[in-house]
Every structure is written in C-alpha cells, then in structure tokens.
C-alpha cells in the first residue's frame, strides 16, 4: 500500500522516503532506522569511563553485532574484528544531549526553517516535534563530530504544553524516521515561568499573563485529560463508546498512563516545587526539569521525587528567572544525590558537551566536592539516558547496550579533547583521521570550492 503511494509525486513529497522499503505492518511515524551490518571492533588500551561510575585504565571495549559485547582488560580480539589501538586515548559511552532543537530550529536560522514553537495557543499537546525535524540540518553532523550519538528533539518553550518530543540517533538520514531511536518513549515538553506568560500575556494580552495563570493552564489541561482518559479506559473495557478523538488529549492521556515522559522547562526552585505538586494532583511524574537553573537549591526534593535536573554548565542572567545561575549547579545537584545531567539547548554548545561537563566538574572541585571523572561522565551519558527513559539501552558501556561509543583524543573533559572515532550501534559514523570528502548535509553542498579554479 505504502509502496504503491510512492509512485505518486505528491505522496513522495509527503513521505520523503520513496525508494526505501517500508514494512506493510509498520506503525505510522515509527522508526525505520536499522543500523547497517558492521564488523566487530575491539578498542584496546584506553582509559575507559564506563558510565556506570567505573574507570578502567588500559581497558578494552568490544563492540559486536551492534552492541557492547565486553568491557574489561586484555580482551582477545574475535576473528575478523577490527582492532583500534587507543593507547593514551579515552573511551566513553556516546554522549546524549537531553535537550536539543536540532532539526526543528536548524541552520540556517531563517523564517522558513524555524519550526520549533507552535506559538498559536498556550496549550498544544497535539503537535509532535518530530514532524518538524529537517534531517539536513548541518548541526547534526557537527554534533556527531563532538561525540553526540543521541539527542532529544524538543519543541520550544513558548507554550505551557508545547507538544511531543522525540529521541533521535545521530545518524545521517534523509527522513526523520530513519533517525528515530527505536523503541524510545516519546516525551511531552512543558514550560514554566517567563516564556509562556511573555509570549501570550505580555506580547498579546492573552491568557496566561502570570505564573498563577500558567499553573491554572496546566491544571485545566490535565483535568480535561483525566476525563478523556477515563472514557478511553472505559472504552477499552467495552463500557463506553470512548471519547471523540482529540490529538492533544491523546498525548496528555498517554502522560497519565505513564507512556509519555514529562520533560519540563523550569528555572526557579519554587516553580519546580509547584510543578511537583501539580504532577501529584493529576498523578503523573515529571521525568526531568530542564534548564533548572536553581536546581541546586532543591537537590533533596528532586531526589525524593526521582526527578532529574537537565542543566547548562554556566548560562545565566538572560532572564530574571535565570539570574541565580551558578557554575556549581550540576555538581551540587549531583552531590545531593539527585540525577544531574548537562544539556546544550544550542547547536554550538551540543558540539562540546564534554567541555561543559568539564567546567561543571571543576566548579564542583573548587566548592570542595569530590567528583572523579568516572562520575562526571554520567552527567552526559547515563543520567540523560535515565531522564529520557532509555537507561536500559544506552548511556553506559555494559554488555548488551547499544554500541554507541566514542574514542577521545585525550581526557574528554579537556578543552583540547576531540572525538576521534564515533560509533553508533557499532557503525563507525565519524573518523577524524578520515573525514568525509563532502558534508553529510545536502544543504552544505556547493557552498565552497565552486569556481576557485576560475580567474
């Protein structure tokens, strides 16, 4: 059926994936990413930060059949395996950016490409960021060269409820479905504070214009969703015909069912505490607060709710709600026993999340916190995996996990560190010694090298 449609020009435009085989039984919008076959790789003699909190000096990592097969010392290379001598180099799990707008706010940043905020209503749980993703964003390959193997693509924060976000594997692709992390839960982006009340209240004299208005907006949406869910549940038991289909309510009901994780933009400590109450009222869980500039003030509260904080190393002061940002935020959340992660929220910052973690780690040292590198690496690997509900799949170098591995030229927290080799599901996707002759992004073709031989 789908292949038949591919014959039609219009359908080809819509699908963007003609010529690519699609299963008859495939769920619409599901992942079509299948890593190609690759030879086994044994990385030897590296300083390995496993992401589990361990460090192995002179360690080896074996990647086989797209998965981490073995991690330890003195691993014998299986027959046919490629062997990488990583002496004086470091190995970590692939970096995971838990907050990215690559593809939805791509380069170049012009009107035609800025598809990240459906800022026409403060509550838009019906939209999905993946539908806006432009896989040709040159930012993807630059992030890959920085060791980033997965990133959560979120809608922006104009709205109280901004829509669904989706986790992508950072592989070159023509369609977003070819990047979609198979089996990862979708998330719901929500936003606290100044942005929604500025966009609607200050700029348009609409609801909400205050923080209490923001809170009323979330509560109204979830109150409605609870009714929708009750009807949906009753229909499943054959006791009701079910609600009229509402795309937004589908999303919120899935949140109440625990199928969609809530990722919430929130800066101030008091506002995060208020949101934890909203979540308690409607019986959903907030997986992570994003930006969380004041998370260091409420580390124990976050720990008690098992809610992660997704933070910048040092952005501060651009809004009043970001005025209390400090360099020690990440380290202090970690020291309080809560789940601390670093994010970029930026196409430039995503290229050096390792350095951002390095700055945050060193700020913690100066505050008297004992943070070994094998712990700090978790802020950009295992902890974001937890925040995004894929801790069983990625984020650590443990047998059975996806073969997402980075070989760094030196200590990955150093400003001088470069990702030399980046493997995604066991496939070498970036090799600094052998860079591709042309960029992956179609957009970047033909910009340079044209006419240089002419007078």
């Amino acid at each position: 059926m789908r292949r038949h449609f591919c014959g039609a020009a219009l359908a080809a435009l819509l699908l963007g994936a003609c010529g690519q085989e699609q299963d008859q039984g495939r769920q619409p919008y599901s992942s079509t990413y299948t890593p190609p076959a690759a030879e086994a790789v044994l990385i030897q003699h590296a300083t390995v930060l496993t992401g589990t909190g361990s460090r192995i000096d002179d360690g080896d990592v074996l990647v086989q059949n797209r998965k981490i097969a073995q991690v330890g010392k003195g691993i014998a290379p299986p027959a046919g395996a490629a062997v990488v001598d990583a002496q004086n180099r470091w190995v970590t799990p692939g970096i995971i950016d838990p907050h990215s707008h690559l593809g939805v706010y791509p380069s170049p940043e012009v009107w035609a490409t800025q598809d990240g905020n459906e800022a026409t209503s403060p509550t838009t749980p019906n939209v999905w960021s993946e539908h806006s993703v432009w896989p040709q964003d040159p930012g993807f390959e630059q992030a890959r060269e920085g060791g980033v193997t997965s990133m959560l693509i979120l809608p922006g924060s104009a709205n109280l409820i901004g829509g669904r976000g989706t986790l992508l594997k950072n592989v070159p692709a023509t369609t977003y479905q070819e990047m979609k992390f198979p089996g990862a839960p979708q998330v719901l982006k929500m936003a606290c504070g100044e942005n929604p009340k500025r966009v609607y209240g200050k700029d348009r004299q609409q609801f909400p214009s205050t923080w209490m208005g923001d809170v009323a907006g979330y509560r109204a949406a979830f109150a409605k969703a609870a009714e929708y869910k009750a009807k949906r549940d009753a229909a499943k038991k054959g006791k009701d015909k079910g609600p009229d289909r509402d795309l937004g309510m589908d999303t919120l009901a899935d949140v109440l069912d625990g199928k969609i994780l809530v990722e919430m933009h929130c800066y101030r400590a008091d506002q995060m505490a208020t949101m934890l109450d909203v979540a308690q009222e409607f019986k959903f869980r907030i997986a992570a607060f994003h930006h969380a500039v004041e998370a260091y003030k409420i580390g124990p509260l976050l720990k008690a709710h098992d809610t992660c904080a997704v933070m910048w190393a040092d952005w501060w002061g651009f809004k009043l709600e970001a005025y209390d940002g400090i360099r020690e935020n990440i380290a202090m959340v970690d020291a309080a026993g809560a789940c601390a992660t670093v994010h970029s929220d930026d196409p430039i910052g995503v290229q050096r999340l390792n350095q951002e973690a390095g700055k945050a780690m060193a700020a913690g040292w100066r505050a008297g916190l004992d943070i070994p590198r094998e712990r700090a690496i978790r802020w950009i690997t295992a902890n974001p995996a937890k925040a995004l509900g894929v801790a069983d799949r990625v984020g650590t170098l443990e047998p059975g996990k996806d073969g997402d591995v980075v070989v760094w030229s030196t200590d990955p927290f150093s400003v001088y560190a470069q990702a030399d080799l980046v493997y995604i599901d066991g496939v070498l996707r970036f090799d600094r010694a052998h860079p591709p002759p042309l960029p992956d992004s179609d957009f970047k073709l033909g910009i340079l090298g044209q006419g240089e031989e002419m007078p």
């Binding site: 012009v110 040159p138 630059q142 952005w315 005025y323 209390d324 290229q351 060193a362």
Partner: protein
C-alpha cells in the same frame, strides 16, 4: 551590620589609592609575558605602585615585597575582552536594566556607552574572579541607524576609576542586520553609510536641500568626525566574505581604521585583511551556517586567519557575550584545539584587544612599566578545569567573591554539601 560592612571593605580594597600600594613579587611562575620576553619558565614578576617593575628569570624579589608563590603554574596578563556590553546590562529580559541599545532614540553615533556604564553591575565581580580584568563595552545597533554608538575600554577593578578609554571605538552593523536597518538591501547599507560620511564632511556648510531632513543629529556628526579622521576605529559587524571586501574598500576609500567583528567568512579573504592590517574579532566556536552570511563558517577559522597574518581577537558572538564573557578563554582553547598557536590564542584575549583599542602602551602584556593586571592560574589558562588562584587589577588583589559565590555558599551550607556535610 557586620554583613553589610564586610563586602564594602572588600570593594574599598579595589580602589587604587584607597589601599597602600603594595610591592608584590610573583615567584616561581611560568610567565606568559605576551611581550618580547615570550614565555619565562622560572620567572619572577615584580609589581610596585600598581605597575609592573620587572619581569625575568629567577629575579630576586625586592626586600619587603609580598610574595605570591605561583608554584610553577602559568601567569598571564589579565584577560581583555574585545567585545562585551559589561556594565550596560544586568538581565537581558528586564528592559529597565538594559542600556545597550536605544530603539527609539533620534541619535545614534553620539550614544556613548560610558554615559550608561554601571561599575556596580553584578556581572563585573562574576567576570573578574575568572581573570577578566579589562573589556571593551559596546552599545548595540537597534532601531533605524547603522551606528550603534561609541564604546569604551573599562577596568573591572574600580568603582571610581573604571574608565580606561572613552570613545574607544565606533560600532556599526553591516551585512544582513545592516541591510535590514538600512531599508532592506546591502546596497542601501553602503549608500546610507556614504551619505552619512558625506554629511560629516559637509558639516557647517549650507545644505544643498535644506528641506531634506538629516538622518544624523548634530552630536552624531560630532561623534563621527574622529572616525572619519581615522583617529577612532570603526568596528563593523560583518560576516560574509563579499561584505568584508566591501568594508575593506569602504575603509580604504575613506581612510578609516577598520575592525571586523563577526568575521565568519573572514578566512576566505584573509590575505586582503592582512594586507590592509584590519583586525578580526572572532568567535571560533561558530562553525555552522547559522545565517546565509556565514555559510562558510568553520572551526579552524582562527588558525587560518592567524597563519595569514591577520591580527586576531577572540570574543563571544552570541547572546552570552556579556554574562559569559568569562568564557573567552574556553573559546581560545577551542581555537588551539583547531590549530591556533597557543601564544597567539593568549594574545587574542590579552594583547590584541589592547592593540585594537589603542591601549597597549599600558595594558595587554606583562612588561615593565605596564599596569599590573595579572592572573596567577592553577593550571593551563585555556583549560576547562583551570581557574585563577589570584587576580590582580592594577596591582590590587580581586576578592574571590561574587553574587554567584554567595549563592553557592548559602546553599552548600543549607543543604550540608561537601565540606559542610560534617558540620
């Protein structure tokens, strides 16, 4: 009461003359002089009366000098950011606290950053504890004028004598943003600029068409005179290679002292920039085609410019150019990672900004006679994990405190983290 007095005493110590001028000897240091002496591996640096008196290998400290043992670690000049709006804005989202631009002002070139500068901005201690001692603070073009106004070179170490050089440069936006301001095209940008300069040239003579309103106010004209005379540099924000060449021609035609800021595609026209001795203020992180004027942006642009002989300053070119001016050393480190010579990277955040703004006779390097802006680091100054151990501005030690350290200490104690856990 005690809580109020303590910070005040700390601030008083920063005022030159408020405390007795101390003689200081920094010993056992790896001194990056940025001067003719290059790097001195076992050096001593002597500071007397706020100035550098001597610097050299294994010098004996003068009797009575306070000794700062650098323990073999690097010592550099205080960092100097070639482009910030420090003292002009507190919080971007709070318009009352922002004086960078004046969308509705009738005047443009006449606007002077020094008139608005607030030496008590909380951003200043946040920046200086990380080794930033001097900055150019600049207005931003808003509204209908290509000219943003005039910037100043300021000290981050004094509440009274912060003004190092007023009217240190005129700032203007060209390229995409300039075209938008000028009415919609690059052609309009250049025609408008030419007319502005013509108006300055004809100042005082009767207007050909007295009914045609002037785009420049009287004081705008006055402010542009030193620019037209080639005395005050014109810092233009421009990225596309063709726009940079247009700017070079415009500067040559009018004998202007041009400085390029932005410069995403400057590496494509590096020989021309070098030949005309036009410096570039660059953010080496910006390697994406984020705009159509920066399609050829690349990560090793700083190295390419330096190799071609272009004078390079490194500064943030994003929304955090002011709040995170402290990160300019990370930018310099990234430039080194992408091929820039290490001492050239240090020069791009110390000596070269001083040269661009014409204050290098007293600032920018560790040489006898210069003002004692000195940072003693706990490691490689360009490394993410390093931090200043001691920061001196004009020979006065910067207190290791800021609004951010106070927030940190309050919550470390409240939540009993780290060193507070046992108490």
């Amino acid at each position: 009461m005690k809580n109020i007095l303590l910070p005040l005493l700390g601030m008083a110590a920063l005022l030159p003359g408020a405390a007795l001028a101390e003689t200081i000897a920094i010993t056992n240091a790896e001194i990056h002089t940025l001067g003719r002496a290059g790097v001195i591996t076992h050096g001593t640096l002597v500071i007397r009366d706020h100035r550098i008196e001597a610097v050299g290998e294994n010098l004996a400290p003068p009797p009575g000098a306070r000794i700062i043992d650098a323990a073999g670690k690097p010592v550099t000049p205080g960092l100097f950011d070639a482009y910030t709006s420090l003292g002009l804005k507190e919080i971007d989202g709070v318009s009352e606290s922002v004086d960078t631009g004046a969308r509705k002002s009738r005047l443009s070139a006449a606007l002077d950053a020094a008139d608005a500068f607030n030496p008590r901005s909380t951003l200043i201690p946040v920046s200086r504890v990380e080794g930033l001692t001097r900055a150019a603070t600049a207005p931003q073009a808003e509204g209908d004028s290509l000219f943003a106004g005039q910037g100043a070179v300021v000290s981050l170490g004094s509440l009274s004598n912060w003004l190092v050089k007023p009217k240190a440069a005129m700032y203007a936006d060209l390229g995409e943003s300039g075209a938008k301001i000028a009415g919609g095209s690059r052609s309009a940008t250049w025609a408008t600029l030419r007319e502005y300069l013509e108006e300055v040239r004809r100042a005082g003579t009767p207007r050909l068409n007295p009914d045609h309103p002037s785009a420049l106010g009287l004081l705008d004209v006055e402010a542009l005179k030193p620019v037209l005379a080639g005395e005050e540099p014109l810092v233009v924000y421009v990225n596309r290679a063709s726009d940079i060449l247009s700017a070079l021609k415009f500067a040559e035609d009018n004998n202007l002292r041009l400085v390029v800021r932005g410069g995403a595609e400057a590496w494509l026209v590096a020989p021309q920039l070098a030949a005309q001795r036009v410096p570039v203020i660059l953010d080496p992180r910006l390697d994406l085609p984020q705009r159509f004027e920066s399609l050829a942006a690349r990560a090793d642009a700083a190295a390419l410019l330096n190799k071609a002989g272009v004078m390079l300053a490194i500064s943030l070119d994003d929304d955090f150019d002011t709040h995170n001016a402290r990160n300019l050393r990370q930018l310099a480190g990234n430039a080194v990672t992408h091929g820039l010579d290490r001492e050239a990277a240090l020069a791009a955040i110390t000596l070269n900004p001083a040269r661009i703004y014409g204050v290098d006779s007293t600032l920018g390097s560790l040489e006898p006679g210069k003002i004692a802006d000195v940072v003693v680091w706990d490691g490689d100054p360009l490394e993410t994990t390093s931090f200043p151990r001691t920061v001196l501005i004009e020979g006065n030690e910067v207190p290791p405190r800021s609004r951010q350290t106070e927030l940190r200490d309050r919550y470390m104690e409240k939540l009993k983290l780290g060193p507070y856990a046992k108490k």
